[in-house]
């Protein structure tokens, strides 16, 4: 209450977005942070307000998103007494925050917040939480704000070790079949340009993780596509044939590596990362290069020789041709049957030409959208990666649009995830944020259904959804809506959605038993990737 009362006087200076649920608030803050590269801020009240943030905090932790979460707390004299709406949010959030603290005195608030912002955005970014007791919110004190620039026990980034850079360069210079795996570290480190210079000098084929997507333009000649479970055929197959594997700002997630016992065993591994605890965590590394990748990449570029790997790159392109023939053509340009998710994305691409911010949820639509959306600029792909949080998309898209109002923001959501935070349509309505919402509706929790089909004899246990009329719901919130299922109207409907001045919900009814391929089955090696 005291904080909100104070905010009343600062409505011009400080834009406050009232979401319908705290989970919506934190995902919106995440979307804002990911679209802008700035710290997202979320306020929640004590008790349930604070606990409703936890999913988003855990999501931001695993995806390294800078957030400052401020929670209210009961008065300090009541702490530990099970007072009304008291919850030990500091303990609850501890394993999923980069740092957190409780403030019980007003005079400690400025330094706690200064520290919070510094920790959230420096080094490997992450969520922090500051819990402020009610009495501290009421107290008057002499305000003084000092920016935090240093904490003695905290080293945001390791110091660049030139010897390691030289060792890595030696391996790269000798490599015949080198391959790069790049992740979100490039985007977080604002090192897109350094990365481009590095790959162009070395001529190394480069594949992206889900969160690394958009760090390198889709049509860059050295971009060989997506890694992992539903990634592209070439980079998965050739991971087990390269001689030097260079991982940059990525963490060898199990969805990227598949079975670790059969992962790149033939390759020497170089790992560039800001977080020393990521080195050797999942994959044994031969040459770690620790530090901020903006710095390490430019140092490395100086030490490597100008090279090209044309024949090796052609191997990737040969796999691309197979994938194009067996998977992509049928997905992007089908001529019969129900609409496919891929063709919807393909039609969106035709209008947006790679300039949109794509926000996705979790599941089949996410994999398809990330596989096929084209990107020209960085910070354009916002999705829940590590935690796989259904319900992330809609509020994150709102946050992205508020952070980047001049960019087109398209939320591509499944019918399942949409209904997990559907209430945020209210916030979109209230803020008039012109978010375009595309629901790829297959009336199923599609990815789970796909697994049930492929690995559990089509026993569709609790995955079928009886859905409401999404268009009517949108209209109830004053958002223009349209539902389609015919191929003939797909193009014009997307055009209508994008041309519309304001938020627009387009429901596209797609094939209910469509599957996402390629696929590395759970527990299999990346080179055992299946095309059907």
């Amino acid at each position: 209450m005291p904080v909100y009362d104070a905010l009343y006087d600062f409505q011009e200076e400080l834009q406050h977005i009232l979401t319908r649920h705290e989970q919506g608030a934190i995902h919106a803050a995440q979307g804002y942070a990911r679209a802008t590269g700035k710290v997202g801020v979320v306020l929640a009240t004590s008790g349930p307000g604070a606990t409703n943030l936890i999913t988003g905090i855990a999501d931001a932790m695993i995806d390294s998103t800078p957030l400052v979460c401020i929670t209210g707390q009961v008065g300090s004299s009541l702490l530990g007494s099970d007072a009304f709406q008291e919850t030990d949010i500091v303990s609850i959030s501890m394993p999923v925050t980069k740092w957190n603290c409780q403030v019980t005195k007003a005079e400690d608030i400025p330094s706690a917040l200064a520290k919070a912002f510094y920790i959230a955005k420096s080094g490997r970014p992450g969520p922090v939480l500051v819990d402020i007791t009610k009495d501290a919110q009421f107290e008057a004190f002499d305000f003084e704000y000092r920016k935090c620039v240093e904490i003695r026990s905290y080293k945001p980034a390791p110091v660049l070790d030139l010897l390691q850079v030289k060792k890595a360069a030696a391996l790269i210079n000798e490599a015949q079949r080198p391959m790069i795996l790049f992740g979100q570290g490039i985007i977080l480190g604002k090192a897109e340009e350094e990365f481009r210079q590095f790959i162009e000098k070395t001529g190394i084929p480069s594949a992206w993780t889900l969160l690394g997507l958009s760090a390198l333009p889709t049509d860059h000649p050295l971009n060989v596509g997506m890694l992992g479970m539903h990634g592209n055929y070439g980079p998965n197959k050739l991971t087990n044939e390269c001689d030097v594997l260079i991982a940059i700002g990525m963490r060898f997630d199990d969805r990227v590596t598949g079975n670790l016992d059969h992962y790149a065993k033939q390759a020497k591994v170089i790992h560039l990362d800001i977080d020393p605890s990521e080195v050797n965590k999942n994959v044994k590394v031969d040459v770690p290069v620790l530090g901020d990748c903006k710095e390490t990449l430019s140092a490395l570029t100086k030490c490597v020789r100008l090279k090209s790997h044309r024949t090796w790159l052609e191997e990737f392109r040969a796999f691309d041709a197979i994938e194009q023939d067996k998977v992509i053509a049928g997905e992007l340009n089908p001529t019969e049957g129900p609409l496919k998710m891929g063709e919807v994305i393909n039609q969106i691409n035709a209008f947006t030409k790679g300039d949109t911010i794509l926000v996705t949820d979790v599941g089949q639509h996410q994999m398809v959208a990330c596989r096929y959306t084209r990107f020209n600029q960085t910070k354009s792909n916002i999705t829940s990666g590590g935690l796989g949080t259904m319900g992330f998309c809609l509020p994150a898209a709102l946050g992205a649009k508020l952070g980047a109002p001049d960019r087109e923001v398209i939320a591509v959501i499944g019918d399942g995830g949409f209904q997990m935070t559907i209430q945020e349509l209210g916030t979109i309505f209230q803020t008039q944020a012109a978010v375009k919402i595309v629901i790829l509706n297959n009336n199923f929790l599609g990815m789970v259904r796909q697994w049930q089909q492929l690995f559990f004899d089509k026993r569709y246990s609790s995955t079928e959804l009886v859905n409401p009329d999404f268009v009517k719901i949108a209209e109830g919130y004053g958002i223009k809506g349209k539902s389609i299922e015919d191929r003939e109207v797909l193009n014009e409907s997307i055009k209508e959605m994008l041309a519309y001045d304001g938020s627009f919900l387009l429901e596209v009814k797609v094939g209910i038993e469509d599957n996402v391929f390629p696929m590395v089955p759970s527990g299999a090696s990346v080179s055992d990737i299946r095309l059907s």
Binding site: P95, C101, Q102, D275, K281
Partner: protein, 168 residues
């Protein structure tokens, strides 16, 4: 190979840090064998001594994840042979039963234990040493009306003459 590792963690003194550190063990489903916290030789720097039984690769990952916590200054791990370590144990036994013969006195002498307090009804014996030693005395004393037993966490210093948290 599963063996004992002593993890030494140097930290700021902040509320809740213990929980933050132990949750890293919980996350990896690793049981903590013993835990001790105290001030270190440097003012305002606290020291955690944690003993775990696991494999070296595993302890390395845990130590890395502990060290990256904002309020942790440094975290290291050592094998038993690289450290000098002790635990302290207190035993409360019935004075009457313990005085029945001279055996208890002999045990105390032989085990380098000492009597901290002697009351009419009970006596309190203290022994410092490695766990096996305090455990051995425990087993000896059981027949003599053992009323209470407690053992501390391990405290440990490393053998080379280097300061662990040299960056301060």
């Amino acid at each position: 190979m599963v063996q004992a590792f002593t993890i030494s963690i140097f930290t700021e003194n902040s509320i809740g840090l213990l929980h933050r550190i132990t949750s890293i063990f919980t996350k990896r489903h690793l049981s903590i064998e013993s835990l001790n916290t105290s001030e270190s030789e440097t003012e305002n720097v606290f020291r955690f001594t944690i003993v775990v039984f696991t494999e070296e690769e595993f302890v390395q990952k845990i130590v890395n994840q502990i060290e990256k916590q904002v309020e942790v200054i440094q975290a290291v791990y050592h094998l038993d042979e690289e450290t000098v370590f002790q635990e302290i144990a207190l035993y409360k036994v019935s004075t009457e039963k313990a005085s029945e013969d001279n055996l208890v006195e002999k045990l105390i002498r032989d085990n380098h234990a000492r009597i901290l307090s002697m009351e009419q009804e009970f006596m309190i014996i203290e022994k410092t040493g490695h766990k096996e030693e305090t455990q051995e005395l425990l087993e000896f004393l059981r027949p003599y009306g053992l009323i209470e037993f407690v053992r501390s966490g391990r405290v440990s210093v490393i053998r080379p003459k280097t300061e662990l948290h040299k960056e301060l």
